[in-house]
Amino acid sequence: MCLSIMATVVVPSVMVLLPLTRELTQDLDQLYRSDNSYSEMSMHIITEHWERTLTMEIWSEGRDRTFIKVLSPARQAGSATLRIGSEMWNYLPNTNSTVRIPTSMMTGSWMGSDITNNDIVKEITYTDDYTAEYIFDPDSRGASSDGIYLLKLTPKPSTAVVWSYIICGVSVNPVLPVWEKYYDQHDNLIKTVTFSDVQTMGGRTIPTVMQVIPANKPDQSTTITWSNTTFDQGVSEDIFSLDNLQSGGN
């Protein structure tokens, strides 16, 4: 009773200060997106059985095309991934061959990380594919004291994802994601994604470290660190072709 009275009093006053959820999700969507981009990053994967770091270059154009080239470690150097729309291809330097990833493998791990092929292929936006609402959890340290607001993102019926909803911790000024927790239909946590080390890179202020921790394997993680990014500096059309992929992006 007491809480509900508080909510009715507090919520409207907070709502006045907060940006509209649509504006917020649009800002989040645009954070790493651009007409075209080029990035250099490392991906550090820790599992119960092995640990390794991959360095890679990524080119993107619009929402549909991505080209990823692995630079190290030696055994995987030269591997490349090309995404055009919902199609995904991998170049395997050992066999000098390009293999199409079938739909049935889309939920599989990409390069052994906690990122799935689907995460790379699916160009989902919070604004178009989710319904967003603020949540005010009195138990959370969220709220406005540390500048983090909680946003609940529920996928629209047409959005094909394996989770039921996402709770995002978002800082508003500037709009940056702090963490995201993915839940299934039984409210069980699936994975946690954290964003940190905010820097200005490529003219934008972005978190340059993203870590994915699967809930059922807390000792496992995938950490992506951006070392260089440029936005809207132009990317050659030829990059996003099977011929370029088959040549290993050289």
Partner: protein, 422 residues
Amino acid sequence: MGLISKLAWRNIFRQKRRTILTIMTMTGGFVLSSLSIGWMDGSYSGMILFFTNHQTGQVQVHKSGYLDNPSIYDTVNNYITVGEQIETVDGVRTWAPRIYVGALLASREEGASEGIFSNSAAASIIGIDPVMEENATGFSSQITDGEMLTASAADSSLRATGMILLGKELALTLNVSVGDSLILFSQAADGSGADRKYMVRGIVSTGNTEVDRTTCYLTLADTQLLFALDNRVHEIAVMTTSLKEVDRVAAEVTLVTNSLGLSTASWKVFAREFYAGMKGDETQLKIMLGIIIGVAALGVLNTILMMVLERRREFGVMKAIGTKPKSIVRMIVLEANVMGLVSIVIGSILSTIGLLILSKHGMILDPPMDYGGFVFREMVASITPACYWIPSVCIMITASVVSLIPALKAAHTDAAKSLRTV
């Protein structure tokens, strides 16, 4: 031979038609029960033998927990040492090591550029030792086209082109045949990429389309090299000398493997669905067997009851001249038992003929029966002691118990009343 025995013996031949009818009823019950048992034993032991001998083995050894949650990392290490220890257990015929991993297979579409493999499918890979697997399961009998795997350069070099056997339906999905090339792409146990070019060496048909749609086979050494599983396997399949030995062998292999953090399971455990499906059917057959014996018993009861009613006057005379009720009961039960014995002899001959035919020719199952993915197309009977002793015991018990009721009725006949009414 006492007077009562003599009387019983003569009575059998006195009313031949009645005797023949009773013997026929009992013989019919015997033959039906015997064939059902032979059928049940034959088909089930045949199935177990078929699928354990040709695919799974009767006993399997894995890392503890592997069966419930298979993982590439849960391996039997130093598998040769473990296998050699298992081989010393009495009743073990042989053993075969296996690796189970997943991968993507891709073939070239017709007219596609060189190096572009766009026709892809997810597949389960089974790494097998060609010689040991052949020795254990006669694997090559499942190859419908092409040849069995052999040792090759791919066993020791990641650069070499490997040999692969594809399930029939998987080959259709990938649109490849013997001699074609394809690419295998996966991830090794050390996290690195695992990819290699393969040439299709043969096509495998296990009889289970679900398995053949997703499964391919590589040599064990090749799989170990590609997936960084040096000296490790996921399964040791153990073949026993006899099905009856399975539980004992499993218990003794457990003694060997327990200290190594491995678990041992018999086919009843690792092929739970198959076992449960079979058990369910076995129960149904047992109920059917009970009904057959019940019907035969009712037939016997009916004929003996008729016989007693027809002979009421005779029993009245016997009582009138001083025969004790006990003797009348003995006589009737004895008659039924003699007829029972004759039925057993005739029934055994007929059943043997029937069982021999069913064990040779069997019955084609259409549609085939599917137990947890294992498909059986033919059922054959087997001739076991149970085909004879169970129906024999049932017939003798039925003859004694069923004849006792009318016998008691006859024994308590009021002599004067019986003589008057007939």
